[in-house]
């Protein structure tokens, strides 16, 4: 349902911190990282409209094609619509050229669209994660037109919390199971500290076999698993 950022309509406001340039991609946590032979994308599922939770079951990992996932932070409509568009173009590319679009290609295509709309209040912060002939690949793109390749990215209001956990244990030689667990844990800690993040935790593994949805779990189940102290905030 509804956008994480309210559209520019009367009586609605976004989460921009007044008087600063710090404008986090609103109410969400997405992360993605790349290990040897595979990549991981993970996200929560909460969607907010202003202060209200619009939905607790949003899919923020959008399939561009069988081998490429885009994560969604910012305005839900912008991310959904343009990911859909890149998806259909990648399908056409495949039909025309008899080979799959590379991750670099898809992300460049997406980024070029965002550059065209630069300064017109599109709100997109997305990681393009996928697997192509050159192996697992990962890009971060946003509505400024920035597009950078890397090994670890996180996006959204809870990204700093997720990143701090992720950075501790990340290695390029993680096994798939370890990586999935690390992703789940990182998102969990973001749901714990950031009220814009919550609902379910979704994790997708992308390898030479394509995309594989491995975790879809309510973060409520994970509380006792990850929070060591059973009552960290005793009632007074």
């Amino acid at each position: 349902m509804s956008a994480s950022v309210a559209p520019p309509l009367p009586g609605r406001h976004s989460y921009k911190v007044e008087g600063t340039n710090i404008n986090f991609a609103h109410g969400t946590t997405c992360l993605a990282f790349r290990c040897n032979g595979f990549a991981i994308a993970a996200a929560d599922s909460r969607s907010t409209q202003g202060e209200t939770i619009a939905s607790q079951a949003v899919t923020k990992l959008i399939k561009i094609n069988d081998y490429i996932i885009s994560t969604m932070a910012g305005s839900a409509a912008d991310c959904q619509y343009w990911s859909r568009y890149v998806g259909s173009e990648s399908q056409l590319f495949e039909l025309r050229n008899k080979r799959r679009m590379t991750v670099a290609g898809a992300s460049k295509f997406y980024s070029n669209i965002l550059i065209q709309y630069k300064g017109r209040d599109l709100s997109v912060g997305s990681m393009i994660v996928g697997y192509d002939d050159f192996g697992a690949d990962l890009f971060y793109i946003d509505n400024d037109g920035q597009r950078v390749r890397g090994d670890i990215f996180a996006c959204g209001s809870g990204s700093t919390f997720a990143l701090s956990v992720l950075d501790q244990e990340f290695r390029p030689d993680l096994t798939e199971d370890e990586a999935v667990e690390l992703a789940r844990k990182s998102i969990y800690h973001a749901t714990h500290r950031d009220s814009g993040t919550g609902g379910q935790i979704n994790v997708i593994v992308i390898n030479e076999k394509g995309t594989n949805w491995v975790v879809k779990q309510d973060n409520f189940e994970l509380f006792h698993k990850y929070i060591n102290d059973p009552s960290p905030y005793p009632l007074q």
Partner: protein
Amino acid sequence: MMMNQLVPHQDRNKEAKKNEWEPYIDNAGTCLGFTGEDYCVIAADTRCSNDSYQILSRHVTKITKVTDKIVLATGGMRADYCTLHKRINYQAEMFRYKNKKEISLSGCARLLSNILYNNRFFPIYAFCLLGGIDEIGQPVLYSYDAIGSYGKSKVGAVGSGGELVEPLLDSIILRHHRQASVVPTISNEELPTTRGEDGKPIIPKGIAIEYAHQALVAASERDIHTGDFAEIYVITKEGVERHMRELKAD
């Protein structure tokens, strides 16, 4: 520069705001929807208000029947959603003529999303619920924001009372927040209905209509922009039924 010295900054802003042309108005009202075993219920009140406390009409419909299996309900700005309903109905009709069959629910949902997103930079001030029976005979409800992001959901509520109604539906229809471990005092035994395999209640169609009505009654108790009449559409494989109920008219 002269203006800066003569008029203090804040006053200038206020002055500007007063004379600014405003393309939007929120005519308010509440729409809700949910799906059951073999039906989809969509309901809305029929009040239309303006920005202040005035009631413009007590008999305005927020719901349109797109096909025998698809119904669209919209809250927000009346002028915008009237046009939107006409555009959707027109497109559905053209589809019918061109293809000699009805547009599917998922197709209609994507169409609505594209129409909304095509107005991304001057949005249609309309918050939509699109419900009905899909290609394989399952009841489905889609909910939207004003610029076309959408998703399937079991319950949905939009409009001025949407934030009041949605948690109510979560609780009554989906039995959320009622895990014994969370709220031990409320037990599932209080439910008047039979239960499905997952332990959640199966709500018969007749009761669903009452629930929809009651939810709007609840909204009209707390939201000044909701009231007058409840218009309730029930979509099943057999077609669309329309029910009218009274709400408080104060």
